[in-house]
Symmetry: C2
Subunit: 209 residues, 2 copies
Amino acid sequence: MSDGLTVPFALAAGLTGAINSTAIIVTAGLAEIAAGSIAMGLGGYLAAKSDAEHYAKEREREKREVAEIPHEEMREVAEVFQAYGLTEDETWPIVQALRRKPANWIDFMMRFELGLEKPDPRRALISALTIAGAYIAGGFIPLTPYIMAHTASTALLFSIALTLAALFLFGFIKGRFTGMKPLRSALQTALIGSVAAGAAFAIARLISA
Amino acid sequence: MSDGLTVPFALAAGLTGAINSTAIIVTAGLAEIAAGSIAMGLGGYLAAKSDAEHYAKEREREKREVAEIPHEEMREVAEVFQAYGLTEDETWPIVQALRRKPANWIDFMMRFELGLEKPDPRRALISALTIAGAYIAGGFIPLTPYIMAHTASTALLFSIALTLAALFLFGFIKGRFTGMKPLRSALQTALIGSVAAGAAFAIARLISA
């Protein structure tokens, strides 16, 4: 959502530095929202799908290894703990206990040897729709003033005010959920949007000068 | 890099559906590259920084808990293993061994209770520069034809050919590194770019019709 706000905002601001037709700016903005939401949503979907496949493939491999070369796998369990200063004797009971429960043993290796979490099968679709939806919702905030206003320069002022407020609010809420200080998260999010928009504006003005 | 290729490509293609001035398309494309590379690079940097802070904060908390409520923490170690079907007796030697090495115990809790990896302190900067650099490099590929060609419709054809080839190549290389089938990864990456560009083109043409 933060990217969905920032990039269309910066693009519209940048174009205001070069042309004064709100129609072209709105067209560019909507094209960007369509492109960005699809690229990120579909990209996220396919990435989640291949994570799930990667997990399934690695699990098959661990399953085979636990069945075919159990002593090698037992040594690997012991190594996981030796990294934390445990001796081989101290890890022995765990190794033996896992050996008696092969399904748990495989899960244990996936998490602690390979550091892979079991992916939620529905996550791919939900995350794709969330990303795309947030990008679209975010993109309309900076663009609405250009749809309403008659001149691009007036629209830019409203767009700056509206987008900074939205970035600030979004950063604040995000901070609360991620355990970061909300005010700091709000300022950071607004800063990223401002720097990106400023750079886009400066570049567009330079080219068209 | 994939987003850096796809979004400017789709934006330029979309604008070609609406206007025939390569100057405006190039301006919009460069503004998008500036905005996208900064938003993603700076966003990535700050996200990595707050991950590192989150890790440090959680480590402090675990350190305090290991010192102040060791029995509670010992129970938590045992619970990690009980999730894998081990009895409390079987986990006892591990709990005792960790107890004698508090620094290892804290690291163990970070990784196995909280599932947090120690972040590399230089990662934030490197990942930010990589993301921004890749976005810029990627963005110039679809845009170059619009800089060179005289009409937007000619540029669009070259841009489609060049970008599809780049997406295909990039997807292929990515597939080799991530263990996915290279050809499938190549086709997926090219598909995302095509769908995003097609949607941007359709929307821009609809608005300007």
